[in-house]
Amino acid sequence: MGNMLEVKQGEIVFCEGQSGASMYEIVSGKIGLYKKYDTEKQVEINKLEAGANFGEMAIIDEDKRSATAVALEDTKLNEISAEEFDTYIKENPKKFIDMMKNTSARLRRLSSDYYVACGAAKEFVANQESGKPNSKELMNKLKAIAEISNLK
């Protein structure tokens, strides 16, 4: 199942914005996921080790990669295509449960971040209406939001 790949330290597996239709399982080595890789605004999203999967979002509907994946050391990968995905899951139920947990947790965090952002905007408007000064906490939230925005 899958196609074994070897990537050297520093090599890019896929780039943010590229279209892709496969996910990867790390057999050995380390992978870093970055937004705006190799620019001033580069942000590391995650560092993954042997046993972890990445790139599974693109499997769902062959969408563009949302981050750049780079080998942080010489790394062996198992590439699983969208066609192989269902079979892969049936053969690796434990791994699949982990993947589900990760996605579910991510969705939960994302919902929370989203509402924090909306809440900050609402509070800002309320302050405008009442002439109340903005709290330091609100300012910090808005600054954090501005940073997220720079990622795009």
Binding site: E56, M57, I59, I60, D61, D63, S66, D86, I89, K90, P93, F96, I97, M99, M100, K101, T103, S104, A105, R106, L107, R108, L110, S111, S112, D113, Y114, Y115, V116, A117, C118, G119, A120, A121, K122, F124, V125, N127, Q128, N134, M139, L142, K143, I145, A146, I148, S149, N150, L151, K152
Partner: protein, 173 residues
């Protein structure tokens, strides 16, 4: 596999409350289920309304976390209860069902990521952080007000209305 347990709920009955801890999800066989934040309070928000064949509560099951919203029977309901054991069993006997749940979760992540980035971009575009310290410009105020209307709409129609409805964390709103 063993048949799933059927649970019945009368119209108006609560299926689970936010904060409850039960490791199961439900598939609607008949009836309508409403998913709410702040249920029964003046801040109550209907997050989504689900009809037969739809499922809910899967995140609590997958992650073993307390319920993040309240589920209420909006009509007399018959629900199929999928426990953790059933879920493991389904993964062996009908993996496509579980794969479908997984794909839906990923879609929701993708959609919500886009919404989130959009909101952050909007805020950054309209809220000049320098101006925050002297927030008296009328022009800015008008723009933000417009933006907030957009959020209010999107938080009800785009985000809360996810396919299952229990993915929300509204306590920080």
């Amino acid at each position: 596999m063993a048949a799933l347990t059927t649970c019945t709920f009368k119209k108006g009955e609560i299926i689970f409350n936010v904060g409850d801890f039960e490791r199961c999800m439900y598939v609607i066989d008949s009836g309508v289920v409403g998913i709410y934040a702040f249920y029964g309070t003046d801040k109550e928000i209907e997050l989504t309304k689900l009809e037969p064949k739809r499922y809910f509560g899967e995140m609590g099951l997958i992650e073993s976390t307390p319920r993040s919203a309240t589920a209420v029977a909006l009509a007399d309901c018959e629900l199929l209860k999928i426990t953790e054991d059933d879920f493991q069993e389904l993964l062996k006997t009908a993996p496509d069902v579980i794969i479908d749940i997984y794909k839906n979760l990923n879609r929701r992540v993708k959609e919500l990521s886009d919404d989130y980035i959009e909101v952050c971009n909007d805020i950054t575009t309209y809220v000049d952080l320098e101006e925050l310290y002297a927030p008296s410009k009328e022009n800015l105020w008008t723009k933000i007000k417009k933006l907030i209307e957009h959020y209010d709409k999107s938080s009800v129609s785009n985000v809360y209305v996810d396919s299952q409805g229990n993915a929300v964390s509204v306590d920080k709103l």
